[in-house]
């Protein structure tokens, strides 16, 4: 208990973090008539202040000075490749870019908005059914989520309607209705908006992927293809493919964000209060550690404040959630040596590599035209859509062209084809040619969970409040490298069908450790996973702590292993799913949710 902290009047619900997960939960809890305080560590943000044209269209500030991202000088993590190493601080932004401030990373994300493949939700069961238990490599912790696609479907649908997602369905209520992803499950309704137009490179990819025998579809995108009003009454304008999604607040009010799609309504609700610049230090527990009594935080003036509450929701982002659980003593910390404990277990990432295709020099690919969630993908090598039996690996990758808008500094950094120097006249010529006439294809694959890949508290380094940093122990594993190499090889066929002048296939290399200096994605997952067995999950299938029933933990931390898709569609659906069960069951009878 923090005895010297100032104690405030109690509220019904305190929510840690003001991103997608936090704002969805706040909206749902106020709808249920509960008083809600959201504590957000970063500044208040919105489109009018942070997305005002033209000042916001500044690549240096947005993508290279990380204006909207986490302030690493105050809070970071340490990283090592294996437990024999000393983990070192992640001192500069590079591999992943966590968000900070009201809206979280949801203000400056890209917008690719997926539902998870049904097989991914019960991957352990499916793999054993199809290939036998021996197929699972030694040391891989393959698990089911404990929730089915059918159970989540209404919440995927809800999230798409709130986000104003553009896309084309394949099946609605069991009927084939359009040219969507043939591997996708049936939906209860169409996407709220039609698919975005294909930019040129996506158009070429669609054609070439079809010729190569694959099944391309439009990426579902939370970037509005038309004007839209969501169920909350929040309004979006049509996306103009400005190319400034990733790292920016959308000045057109076209990209879904908590700031555009939820907060304008939530901020006016009498039961809602938002406190920015408040960094939560820990969840307070009662004397036997079975019930949370509130949270303690440091406010902008440096005061330590305790906010008592009946219900605590952690929605501070995947790894911040895990760290807050460890700092607060919620759930048993994972011990890799004994293979016991759950908090920190099954930490996963996104296994993405990007290949480049050069077209005829007369063809302009206009890579600056684009939208964060737009593009064309195929799923022929994702999830359980293909036979893994003869291949001997678990997992897969969607493959896509997702031209989110490549800007000038990024083009300069990317340079020319392999073999070109990184500066001087040869670089200049190669870089200009590459920018004007090439396109990029991603293999956006799964990363499985392993016994020796995990999160815990660092013994040495501290944050600005004197609390231990989170320590990541992470490396790429043979199964995932082989999966990536298999799928990237298929990209070669598509490039050939495009009439490529030159192709550079990039795949993961054996023996090359995870490199914290190279941007990959901010799709970090696991660490406090959901499930039906308290021995292998920190949360039950409602994202409720097994140990402290009035703490719910919402985020990609709940994923038992990585998925081939971007995480936010699943995070939002899980938030609505958890909120539904809190509203219909928990609030009336607080206690562990069963069944």
């Amino acid at each position: 208990m923090s005895t010297d902290a100032r104690r405030l009047d109690p509220v019904d619900v305190v929510i840690v973090g003001g991103g997608w997960a936090g704002c969805i939960m706040a909206k749902e809890m106020t709808e249920a008539g509960r008083s809600v305080v959201v504590l957000e560590r970063g500044p208040d943000r919105g489109t009018a202040s942070d997305g005002a044209y033209p000042a916001s269209i500044d690549e240096l500030e947005g993508n290279f000075r990380y204006k909207l991202f986490q302030d690493l000088s105050k809070h970071t993590v340490t990283i090592r490749n294996n437990s024999r190493q000393v983990a070192l601080p992640y001192r500069r932004m590079a591999a992943f870019l966590p968000g900070e401030g009201v809206g979280g990373a949801g203000l400056h994300w890209s917008g690719v908005h997926f539902r998870i493949p049904p097989d991914d939700l019960r991957l352990r069961t499916r793999v054993i059914e199809k290939y036998g238990a021996k197929f699972i490599p030694e040391g891989m912790n393959l698990q089911d989520y404990g929730v089915t696609y059918e159970e989540l479907e209404p919440f995927f649908d809800r999230a798409e309607k709130v986000f104003g997602t553009s896309g084309e369905a394949y099946k609605v209520n069991g009927q084939v209705v359009g040219k969507g992803n043939v591997f996708s499950p049936s939906r209860s309704d169409h996407f709220p908006l039609p698919a975005l137009k294909d930019v040129y490179t996506a158009h070429l990819f669609r054609k070439a992927a079809t010729e190569a025998g694959f099944h391309p579809y439009s990426l579902p995108a939370a970037n509005a293809s038309r004007q839209y009003v969501n169920p909350y009454g929040a309004q979006m304008g049509p996306c103009n493919f400005c190319g400034y999604c990733s790292g920016y607040a959308c000045y057109m009010y076209s990209k879904a964000s908590p700031n555009v799609n939820i907060l304008p309504v939530l901020r006016r609700h009498p039961l809602f209060e938002l406190r920015a610049a408040c960094n939560v230090l820990k969840v307070e527990l009662d004397s036997d550690g079975r019930r949370a009594t509130g949270v303690t935080y440091a406010d902008a003036e440096g005061n330590t404040v305790t906010q008592p509450a009946e219900l605590v929701i952690l929605s501070a982002f995947q790894f911040h959630n895990v760290r807050l659980m460890l700092l607060s003593g919620i759930g048993k910390p994972y011990d890799p040596a004994r293979n016991e404990g759950v908090v920190g277990r099954n930490f996963v990432y996104q296994n993405v590599t990007t290949s480049t295709v050069w077209l005829d020099p007369k063809v302009e690919t206009n890579q600056y035209v684009g939208t964060g969630g737009g593009g064309v993908a195929f799923d022929d090598f994702n999830s359980e859509n293909f036979d893994h039996g003869p291949l001997g690996f678990v997992g897969g990758s969607p493959v896509w062209v997702n031209q989110a808008g490549v800007k000038a500094i990024a083009a300069a950094y990317s340079g020319g084809p392999p073999g070109t120097p990184r500066w001087g006249s040869a670089w200049k010529a190669g870089m200009i040619d590459t920018y004007r006439h090439s396109l990029r294809i991603d293999a956006h694959g799964t990363n499985m969970a392993y016994r020796d890949v995990y999160l815990d508290l660092d013994p040495t380094w501290k944050d600005a409040h004197g609390q231990p940093l989170l320590r990541m122990t992470f490396d790429w594993k043979d199964n995932d490298i082989r999966m990536n190499r298999y799928v990237v090889d298929k990209i070669g066929n598509v490039a050939k069908a495009m009439g490529a002048r030159r192709v550079h296939l990039t795949s993961r290399e054996f023996g090359k450790p995870f490199d914290t200096r190279q941007y990959q994605t901010t799709h970090l997952g696991g660490g406090a996973v959901m499930g039906t067995d308290p021995g292998t999950s920190a949360l039950n299938r409602y994202l409720q702590s097994w140990d402290v029933h009035n703490v719910f933990v919402i985020g990609a931390n709940a994923f038992p292993q990585g998925t081939g898709y971007n995480p936010t569609g699943m995070v939002a659906a899980l938030a609505y799913w958890a909120a539904h069960h809190i509203r219909t069951t928990y609030l009336a009878r607080p206690g562990p949710l069963a069944g």
């Binding site: 493919f241 600056y368 200049k428």
Partner: protein
Amino acid sequence: MQGLAGAAACGTVLASSGRAGPVAAPPYRPQFFDAAEWAFLVAACDRLIPADASGPGAVALDVPRFIDRQMDTPYAHGAQWYMSGPFMAGPDNLGYQLPYAPRELYRHGIAGMNAHAATRHGRPFAALSAALQDDLLRAAERGSLVFGDVPSATFFEQLLANVMEGAFSDPIHGGNTGMGGWAMLGFPGARADFMDWVDQYGVHYPLGSVSISGERA
């Protein structure tokens, strides 16, 4: 990455300062860099992005001015990096682990480059021929020079990153003069509206670049 492969190519292209001797600095009074540092910076910028048939070089784009102005931002003071100790060396793939902010990297790095130029050739970097300058820059890039506890590759990466930023960021930051960097790429800058160009397939966008402050190229 493939620095050596480009060596031959570098020798055969039009360099803006193929002759020996310092390059004339633009009329700008640096605030952070002293005269010797500034001479290095201008000369190095001219080699990293030389003027040639592809377009203007870093000097004409006022990249040195951009870097000097950046030195006065929180970024250059290390305010965006986690700078708490202890500082321990580790494998390269675990990232930057020195206690120095960009300002200090420049101070150490430029002194180191000039010291190497003086030891090897008896003159500061800016007074060497383009070919010798390139050799030294390549040696720094490979990490084969030693500047006290700053690996030369760390300094080189800092410099190269800021040079690229200066040539291709919005002119509001002091570089990319006349949007010359954007023009050579065909990048429309702050136009940020391609509603009517999304499905104009394979042809280049017809309008020139604009900047945040409304300049047109």
